[in-house]
């Protein structure tokens, strides 16, 4: 318990820092007033708008106002959309979560079995092939892969739609495009692109950890005791690889949110990433700040969860360090 409380305090300090950095960076991103007005707007009108938006106040005042409002969930009104930022994020979030979930599930479902397999049969032909493919997965930039997939599956084969999110269905009160065939066909390519990098990384990590653990004495003793292979691999070996693997997965899955920016752009997926790109183009400061804080929150929370899982997996952490 004490452990979790300290982590929570650390997390809030991190969030305040994120807010400060974000706020400062956005002071230099460009002049939102110029992005808002047309070429024929007079200089006086521009100045009046600057005053109305509070852009003439001292930086500290702007920052304090920003944090105060953010704590109440109010990120202001987007300069370029004229709408509540929190409302817009709430609208776009489901699309990104869908994509991240689908690709996360895909990545884990493929990486864990493949990692264990290549760890055990490291000389086999299949294992070698999987390893070679995983190098490709880690090294091809996602935008290139996305464009290639579109070319093959949309332009040449005409099998899958090249852009956008499909029809939305409702299941157990949740509205998501993953519940319709049209929605799945739209989500498949972006999710595949997004998962490939994570897949490669997680797979290679599990494999390396498996190789490490399989060399240890207690595994030899387990074999010597005549335990069946399945029990040795899954119970004795895999469980002891989990601490670093869970850390990596936690970080990787939260970075899916960040990676999704490029994938969303390539596939015109109407999620948070494309919202961010629009905001950057328009110097839409309230939107940018809210996005940064949101991503900071995702990272901080997933680290908290990872820490909590450690405690469950490895009792040494609960007592260690003191």
């Amino acid at each position: 318990m004490y452990f979790l409380v300290t982590r929570l305090v650390q997390a809030s300090i991190v969030m305040l820092g994120v807010a400060l950095v974000g706020f400062l960076v956005f002071q230099f991103i460009g002049d939102p007033v110029l992005a808002l007005v047309g070429q024929e707007t007079t200089i006086e009108d521009r100045e009046a708008l600057r005053e109305r938006l509070g852009l003439n106040d001292p930086l500290l005042v702007q920052y304090a106002r920003f944090v105060g409002n953010a704590l109440q969930g109010d990120f202001g009104i987007s300069y370029s959309f004229n709408r509540d930022v929190s409302e817009m994020i709430a609208e776009r979030l489901p699309a990104t979560i869908e994509l991240v979930l689908l690709s996360g599930v895909l990545a884990l479902a493929l990486a864990i079995p493949a990692g264990i397999y290549t760890g055990i049969r490291r000389k086999g032909g299949l294992a070698q092939t999987i390893m070679a493919l995983s190098v490709i997965g880690v090294s091809i930039p996602s935008f290139l892969l996305g464009i290639l997939l579109i070319l093959v599956f949309s332009v040449w084969l005409n099998w899958l739609p090249s852009f956008g999110r499909g029809d939305v269905g409702t299941f157990l009160g949740i509205r998501s495009s993953l519940f319709t065939l049209d929605g799945l066909s739209h989500a498949l390519m972006p999710a595949a692109v997004l998962c490939l990098f994570q897949l490669g990384v997680i797979l290679r990590l599990i494999r390396a950890e498996m190789l490490e653990v399989l060399r240890t004495d207690y595994i030899r003793f387990a074999w010597a005791r005549g335990l069946p292979g399945r029990r040795v691999y899954m119970h004795h070996a895999l469980k002891n690889t989990l601490v670093p693997v869970v850390t990596a997965i936690g970080l990787q899955l939260s970075s899916l949110f960040a990676f999704s920016i490029i994938t969303e752009k390539v596939f015109q997926w109407p999620g948070m990433g494309s919202l961010l790109l629009h905001a950057i183009g328009q110097s839409d400061i309230p939107l940018l700040a809210a996005y940064l804080i949101f991503v900071g929150l995702v990272f901080t929370l997933s680290n908290l969860v990872v820490d909590a899982i450690y405690v469950a997996i490895d009792p040494r952490i609960r007592h260690g360090g003191r």
Partner: protein, 530 residues
Amino acid sequence: MPTSLLKSLAVSLAASVTLTTAVAGALNAETLRIASQGDATSLDPHSHNESFTNYFLGNVYEGLVGRDRNFEIAGQLAESWEQVDPNTWRFTLRPGVTFHDGSAFTADDVIFSMDRALADSSNFKHVLASVDSYSAPDDMTVEIVTRAPNPILLNDLLDLMILDRQWAEANEAQEPINLQAEEKAYSATNANGTGPFSVVSRAQGEKTVLAENPDYWGDKGNVTEVIFTPINNASTLVSALLSGEVDLVMPLPLQDIARVEGADGVKVVSSPEARTMYIGMDQWRDQIIESPVEGNPFKDLRVRQAFAHAVDAQAIIDRVMQGQATLATQYVMDKVNGFNPDLTRLAYDVDKAKALLSEAGYPDGFELTMDCSTDRYVNDGQICQAVVSLLARAGIKVNLIAQPKAQFFPKVVAPDFGTSFFLLSWTPSTMDSLNVFQNVLGSRDLDNGRGAWNISGCSIPEADALAEKAAVTMDAAEREALLKDAMALMVENVCLVPLHVQQLVWGAADNIDVVQHPTFEFPLEYFNVN
């Protein structure tokens, strides 16, 4: 596990195949699916003065006057007009027109829309800058009184969209969107105009659906539904056209022209656009900035001429613009009123450029810095790189600052005008060169609203006088002659180095007929799906 997953993947793949075919089959022949790299920034017609937004909304809202199929000014909500005296215009409104929600269009709506366009939060005050007062003598008549005779009042009014007073008041949208916190903007996401199409659904940055207005007063093509999708990524945009998921892509990225031309079932449609690209040279500072040179070489006409001779604009068109541009002889294109057909470019001639530089006292050239945006105009970054290497041949060493528009514009515009050498362009929204004299070419006089975009600070008082005279000359021929003379003076003095006139390039499915206007308007009522 992997095998079963593969199987389910295969199943969903197969399912999606049948699904896409089903969708394609069910498509109504009169649905037009359009994609573009950007989206309209708002549905409020008085809030953002940005060309794409204006022209998108031109399909939903109408003005008193508009452009017909041949780009001539024609009556839209005004059926006819007359000039009672040099300052007074009387517009007779079109009877029997209704807004999309069914309410009747009257003179009161015009008055309301003009009030709204003049509100503090409006971005369209310039439209009524010459107007002194306006009134509605009866339900079907509007009178506009100008401060001084304004020969291009009709051009000014092109951008003034008319809203319904009752609708706006019922939804608290009496004023254009106010960016002050706490204000929600109904009119940013909803629209109620009199145009040929009404907005059915709107998800900004995602998808906008328009449906034909069955009660539209004018002629219309056969398009009954328009699905508009913004697609940021150029290659995805073109893929969507090639795979038949969209019917029209505008604009088509230049690097993909060959790809679309080589593909079956799609075509490239292009025509000159009203945007003229030019290079600007600081002529107002006594010492140019970001350069080691002493003083300001650009104050010498010979140096400006040398720059014009040194820049091979045709090479830029061929290499950078992939041939999709035409040489500019002056600071407006030929469809703009006031274009002077007698003017010619200074020919590309490096030796001449070197000779002129020597005469001016710079036999070894000099060094300076160029400011350039990278995401505002078609291939703007590459144009600047080409200019840099072309000038190097004449001995001018240019340090290029290529920057996103978000950094570029705050640096170069008023009040700092923080550049001595730059690439910029202008589209006269009125399609009349007076607009260029007022904003770009006229001597800087910010208090009187002239020359706010005259970043080079060039000043030819004689041309200013001609333009001022043209502004109040009602006789069309006399006025045009004045504007032509003023343009000739600017070109003689090499106020700016004109580069090229951009082409408007769209990609379309073979069965789509489109109408292109030099202003990037896309009047969907003239489009047809065959």
